[in-house]
């Protein structure tokens, strides 16, 4: 099973856990990405996430399905927040269940690595003295 969501509402760790929980599987790995209060020495006040929603959903689904089949995972959930986020808010939750915990760790890490590389979501960081799109310029 894969469960993909792009949402402008607060993400729930319990919901992500519940979506992969399976009495046949003993091991669940979660990655939770939160908004940091600093980046490259500057103080971040808040963030804005924008997405190209239909393509983001397609890419998230592709990445989740690929990890699931490559690592024989039981279930993969990938929830990403969009819109305005405050410091400490959860931007992304990845939950993976597997019969083998090593595969769960490897699969979960692969999903976040590929998400950060391919999914069309853009983060604008607001600092005390301005704002900028992360990664856009050298």
């Amino acid at each position: 099973m894969t469960d993909i969501k792009l949402s402008d509402q607060k993400l729930s760790i319990d919901a992500a856990y519940a979506s992969v929980h399976d009495p046949a599987c003993g091991g669940i790995v979660l990655f939770i990405g939160t908004i940091r209060n600093h980046n490259k020495g500057k103080t971040v006040t808040h963030l804005d996430f924008e997405s190209y929603a239909p393509m983001a959903i397609k890419e998230m689904t592709r990445i989740a399905e690929k990890a699931k089949s490559e690592h024989k995972l039981q279930a993969v959930t990938l929830h990403h927040r969009v819109g305005n986020l405050a410091i400490g808010d959860i931007a992304v939750i990845i939950a993976v269940s597997s019969h083998h915990r090593k595969a769960a760790f490897t699969g979960c890490e692969q999903v976040i690595d590929e998400l950060k590389e391919h999914v069309p979501i853009w983060k604008k960081e607001f600092l005390e003295d301005g704002s900028y799109w992360v990664n856009a310029r050298p």
Binding site: G33, F49, E50, S51, Y52, P54, M55, A56, K58, H80, A91, V92, I112, L115, K116, E117, H118, V119, P120, I121, W122, K123, K124, W133, V134, N135, A136, R137, P138
Partner: protein, 81 residues
């Protein structure tokens, strides 16, 4: 000449000043042609770390041909997660 419209997100929207941008190109251009025209019209795209073109919600190769009715988008460097 044909009008090709691309969706703009993130820094691409800042550069073009709008949620989409139109370019004028010969009919059935390649994705590489679209990129080139975009940089010609908006040199600021050349200053980005990189950018991709999506065709019908998938990353497009430079040699793909853009057909009538395709949905194109400019994909600046992503930063989700």
């Amino acid at each position: 000449m044909e009008k090709i419209t691309l969706l703009c997100f993130g820094v691409a929207r800042d550069i073009t000043g709008a949620g989409n941008v139109s370019l004028h190109l010969r009919p059935r251009p390649s994705v590489a042609d679209v990129r080139q025209q975009l940089i010609a019209d908006y040199p600021a795209f050349g200053e980005l770390v990189s950018f991709a073109i999506a065709r019908n919600e998938e990353y497009a190769d430079p040699d793909e041909v853009v057909e009538n009715g395709d949905v194109l988008a400019i994909i600046p460097p992503v930063s989700g997660g």
